[in-house]
């Protein structure tokens, strides 16, 4: 292991021998182990189909892992029951490539849904309660952090891609997460918007002290933003280190010998 802080509890997340086999027989992860130090900005790289999305979805158990374990903030969350799993999930934010906003509702409502994990389960899961005033205020604040407060009352499908992703970030901000999982957050955005969204993620990482695990496609982004890198290939971990350690040789190893690096500016 290349990065190894002194004491165990400085890892916010420890993944051990994670295996995921999909019902159709695809072995998406074949025993992946790595640790995420607190406060890191960890980039996950690898070819399309190498299992990056699967990895992130297994960490918060949107997909049930087949075997292996995840230890989040010192607690094994691999086999916990739904109630505890939900508690753990409230501390783990997630941002998606396709934003996954509820298109028919307005931005404010979308942001507020980030707090659903704290909803008091009074009657029918608490769905008929009104949003508390304090949460609404906080939602506006979260929108201010990502710079689109003025769009609060617009329907989510009326936004551009970059704006949608910022709404999604505001939504996870409402969770006050300790860990943020980002699955190719900028893959469907143009280069300059990509940088602005990545800057927001870096702000969360540095100012709000949120550990980030982020799937990325472009090595230039990896070098600019991440502090740690792991690389997957066919469901296996093939590289673990600092972004500066990715040499030409490693690059060919990860992406295949025909690959050439493309830059985004």
């Amino acid at each position: 292991m290349t990065f190894q802080p002194a004491r165990d509890y400085e890892f916010i997340l420890q993944v051990k021998d994670l295996v995921k086999t999909y019902p159709n027989g695809t072995k998406a992860l074949k025993g992946v182990s790595f640790n995420v130090p607190k406060g890191a900005f960890l980039a996950v790289i690898g070819l399309s189909g190498s299992g990056k999305s699967t990895l992130l979805r297994c960490i918060n158990r949107i997909h049930e892992p087949t075997s292996g374990s995840m230890i989040f903030e010192g607690r094994d969350i691999t086999h916990v029951k739904e109630q505890q799993l939900r508690e753990a999930r409230t501390k783990i934010g997630m941002v998606f490539q396709h934003f996954n906003l509820v298109n028919r509702r307005n931005v404010l409502n979308n942001v507020l849904t980030g707090r659903l994990g704290r909803l008091e389960n009074k009657f029918l899961g608490g769905i008929f309660q009104k949003w508390p005033e304090k949460w609404i205020e906080e939602a506006y604040q979260a929108l201010r952090i990502v710079g689109i407060e003025d769009k609060a009352l617009i329907r989510a499908d009326g936004l551009s891609g970059g704006q949608k992703q910022r709404v999604a970030i505001a939504r996870t901000l409402m969770q006050h997460p300790d860990l943020l999982l980002a699955d190719e957050p900028v893959a469907s955005l143009d280069p300059s918007t990509s940088y602005s969204v990545m800057n927001y993620l870096r702000d969360l990482n540095q100012k709000h002290n949120i550990t980030v695990v982020c799937n990325l496609h472009f090595l230039s982004l990896v070098r600019d933003y991440s502090t740690h890198v792991i690389a997957l290939k066919n469901g296996e971990l093939v590289f673990e280190g600092k972004p500066t350690d990715i040499t030409e040789k490693w690059f060919k190893d990860i992406y295949g010998s025909d690959a050439r690096e493309v830059e985004i500016h």
């Binding site: 996954n100 849904t113 659903l116 909803l119 608490g126 769905i127």
Partner: protein, 430 residues
Amino acid sequence: MRFPFFVPVVESERRKRQIAGVIIEMFIWGYFLIFLSKILVFSIILPGIEYLAYNDPPNNTALNIIETLNFDSRYFEFPWLWFFNIMGIGAVIGFIISIKCKGFGSWIASISKLQVNNPEDSLKLHNHWKFARIEAVILVIVTVITGWVLTNVSIAKVFQIDGLLGAGRLSLQLACGIPGVGENIGSSSLYDAMQWFLNLFVKLHNAVFSNHVDLFSVSCQPNDLSYFSKAIGKLAESIYLAFIATFFSVPIAFVLSFFASRNLTRHSRAMRLVYVLIRSYMNITRSIEPLIWAILFSVWIGIGPFAGSLALMIHSVSSLVKQYSEAVEGVEEGPIEALQATGANRIAVVWYAVVPQVILPFLAFTIYRWDINVRMATVIGLVGGGGIGSILIQEQMLARWTQVGSLAFLIFLVVWCMDFLSARIREAIQ
């Protein structure tokens, strides 16, 4: 191996599919054989020979065959024992075939798993099922022929003169019930014009054929306004009955539909059981026509609109659950994942991620259901469900065709309005 080996599937799933394939193949070959014997031999070939045998100059060979076989199509019934034996033989053939070939059965059984990843495999897949495709074509042909024989399709019956005359007389009387048709404008009415027009065909027939028939001369006594006012009262009853049935079935169907959607009930065994239970309940209630429910309720509760609306409600709930749950199964997974990731409970996930996506389709289905219910409400009275159908059946039993015509016209008006309205509303909310 019948399940294409290059399609990635878990081994247990592959086994399941293969067994299902064999079973389907056995049934298909049983069906083929039963077609060959029952339909081809006993409903087409033997009756054909029989026809030749008793034709005017009898065909001796045909007569011989019929007499040695002692076959008489009027009294012949296909014995059940033969049926089972043939089915059994077919099953054995199907079993042997499915060991050797990649037949239709295994194709159907594996159809939902046939996504392949690389393009070469999809070419392979195309070749893999050659035999299955031939079987499918035969299956369609066989079914069409069977259907033709079983429904007694006969072009000759459509054009026989007695039937035509009867239908003409009935249509004239029905038309007489439409307001305005029987009223004189000047010296003649629209009704007279129709009668004259139909008589043109009768005259044509008399000129061509030797069996002369009488011209139509049915008089028309239009219904007066008081009859219409009584009928409209009953019509209103039908419309409200339909509305009540729809109104109360919506909330029930709304709640049930989430439990009847595959994508929301995958996570636990208990939920899957609930899913299966609701689906089976729905399929049972939906496969029984509202008319039959209306009979049941009119015995239970007594004849009247309440029985009718309960019958419609039972049917509406299950139909709506089916349509709603299909909409729920079609929602985007993304927002569901996103809200699950925030740690929201399952009810909240459904409420905040699924409901906003399905609310418009739900509305459209509901309006469509109301439209259907209004149509059904007009016939549900035939069996004691109240509304306009209840007088329709009385008039029809007394053979008062002019009155029946009037009622049918009113029903047509309502159905047309509802169709127009519901199409407009659905358009507006899409």
